[in-house]
Amino acid sequence: MIETRGLTKTFKDKKRGEIRAVDNVSFVCKPGEIYGLLGANGAGKTTTLRLLATILEPTDGTAIVCGYDVVEAPEKVRANVGFLSTATALYPRLTSQEMVEYFGRLNGLDEATLKKRVDDIFTRLDMNSFRDRRCDKLSTGMKQKTSIARTLVHDPPVMIFDEPTLGLDIMTARTIVGFIRECRQRGKTVIFSTHVMSEVEKLCDIIGIIQSGKLLAEGSLAALRSRYSENDLEEIFVKVVAPHYAGQEAN
């Protein structure tokens, strides 16, 4: 379960002054649900997810992840979260197996549990053929699978995906989408950010549209269609974002 309460993050910029990357964002994401954070580039998606993964600290407000406050118990939050993004790269000089084991150990798994968990994941994701290959020698698809295994090794109840399919080919992107679905089936709380409408339509139970750090609209796809009298998600997105987008561009 994820619950954000007035989550806010500001950055100071020498030229532009104070920037409110995330502005008073509140939402709830329940177990067995996929929450899609939809927004344009620079809308505040990555910052929001980094705040939930406690990579960044909120300036104001907070979030509760699996019962732990991101400000007060960031390490406990991270122990319950699997975070995957295109920015979370692999250590080039470790093998695929060593990479996953490293994160398993950092998550406090003992050696016996770790071995069993790694064997299970490598079999399930069909990774045994490259488990001893160094990460810098892996193909993009193999790298993504290793990243997925890295996020899964401690079996976290919450999964956070930051534009996980960005720049990937169709086959690799499908693997990721399939994996996100599987997480929901296993009862995990899933939140993911994207600006790909088709992914949102296929995957999300709840959609949050974010622009200029503000959560402008929220609801299921059906609810949004009804509220904005539009069937096409792209049109709904434009209707929601356009007034704010123009303002942001002017800035």
């Binding site: 979260v81 470790l94 994160f103």
Partner: protein, 402 residues
């Protein structure tokens, strides 16, 4: 702090470092090969060239001396020089290295000597040219023998003893033990090398583990794990410290072996020094005390370079930040090679204090009050640098600088 997590990070970083060719070259290969190549290689080449120069019988011209057949016969019979026919442009011949020197014998030299009048022989040479210096030495030795023989004959003719001319001898006697002699000669260099190599040993891994991680995108990956940032910093820091100390240890070992081999080959003999005196005797206790003193310096460097590198967005940017550090370290380290003695004030100057102390330790001198001041002051500086490194790892504007 969680020691288990620090150990996990350290082991992982060590594994990656051992698989990284650049780290292996900078931390293991360079210190192992640098000194044998620099000292033994260049020393051997130097001694071989000097030996070859010494073997050569230098060509020399004689200016004048037609009325002094005695000295001409002496010079021709020496065998250490080859007399070539004199030409008008003898000066150019010396400058162009066609001959190594020219001996000018004044008119009436033999008569003046016979009548016990003062006379001067002039050797025209090329100052700074090794072969010309060797020729000058050979000529001087031959002429001194000739002069001694004349003095001996003159004294004998007057029934005077040899002591009438030379009433007493002056000799030098070294009372310092060989290790102190060697230490005085090389102590400054050893301190300088150990400190400098501690820095160079820490530089590559420190940049790779901070700016390199940012550049490769693994920083965000590790920050998403539950490890506390302080544990992450310590795990990385211990790896940087290990490479700094390994580099320094290998350098000292390699340097010791190189000097021992060089001393054994009496290579210094040809350079005019006493090989036995210049041999470097470093006991195991001296080595240990140097390392104990260098430890906080290595901590200071490792934490300092990590902190500076963390500001950078890429490895290249980190290199441009870290390079100036070399000068900050080299200046006090070089200063220790100058005739500066350790004082209470200097004992508080970072890097210079450790460098001066290394010089003392190598000579077997232990000023415990200075050792205590230096050790604790350097520990304080090192702790401050480490504290700063931890603080930097907690700053979002540093970790996610764009």
């Amino acid at each position: 702090m969680n020691l288990r997590n620090i150990g996990i990070v350290y082991r992982k970083e060590l594994r990656e470092a051992l698989r990284d060719r650049r780290t292996l070259i900078s931390s293991l290969l360079v210190p192992l090969l640098l000194f044998p190549l620099l000292t033994a290689g260049i020393g051997a080449a130097f001694s071989a060239l000097i030996g070859k120069a010494k073997e050569e019988v230098p060509a020399v011209m004689i200016l004048g001396g037609d009325d002094s057949p005695g000295i001409l016969a002496e010079l021709r019979g020496s065998g250490k020089i080859k007399i070539v026919p004199t030409t008008q442009n003898w000066k150019d011949a010396v400058i162009n290295k066609e001959i190594r020197a020219a001996i000018e014998i004044p008119a009436g030299f033999q008569d003046d000597v016979a009548h016990e009048k003062s006379a001067t022989l002039l050797i025209h040479n090329y100052e700074g040219d090794v072969k010309s210096s060797i020729a000058t030495g050979n000529i001087q030795k031959g002429l001194e023998k000739y002069r001694d023989r004349i003095v001996h004959d003159n004294l004998a003719a007057k029934n005077l003893p040899e002591t009438a001319f030379k009433p007493f001898e002056i000799k030098e006697h070294n009372v310092a033990p060989p290790e102190k002699v060697g230490g005085a000669a090389f102590g400054g260099v050893i301190g300088y090398m150990v400190i400098l190599l501690c820095l160079t040993g820490s530089m590559y891994p420190a940049m790779d583990l901070t700016a390199g991680e940012k550049e490769r995108g693994t920083m965000e990956t590790i920050l998403s794990s539950p490890i506390a940032r302080v544990d992450l910093v310590f795990g990385k820091f211990f790896l940087v410290l290990t490479t700094a100390l390994v580099t320094a240890a290998l350098s000292v070992t390699s340097m010791g072996v190189s000097f021992a081999v060089l001393g054994h080959l009496h290579a210094f003999d040809t350079a005019g020094a006493d090989a036995a005196q210049l041999q470097l005797h470093i006991g195991i206790y001296t080595v240990l005390s140097i390392f104990i003193m260098v430890l906080p310096v290595a901590v200071l460097f490792s934490a300092g370079v990590m902190t500076v590198s963390l500001f950078a967005k890429s490895y290249k940017e980190a290199q441009s930040y870290v390079s100036p550090l070399m000068f900050i370290v080299i200046i006090p380290a070089v200063a220790a090679m100058l005739p500066i003695d350790l004082t209470a004030k200097l004992a508080l100057v970072p890097i210079l204090n450790a460098s001066l102390l290394c010089k003392e330790l190598v000579t077997g001198t232990y000023h415990w009050n200075f050792i205590a001041i230096i050790f604790f002051s350097t520990c304080v500086y090192a702790a401050a640098a480490l504290f700063l490194a931890v603080k930097m790892f907690q700053r979002e504007d540093v970790l996610f600088r764009s």
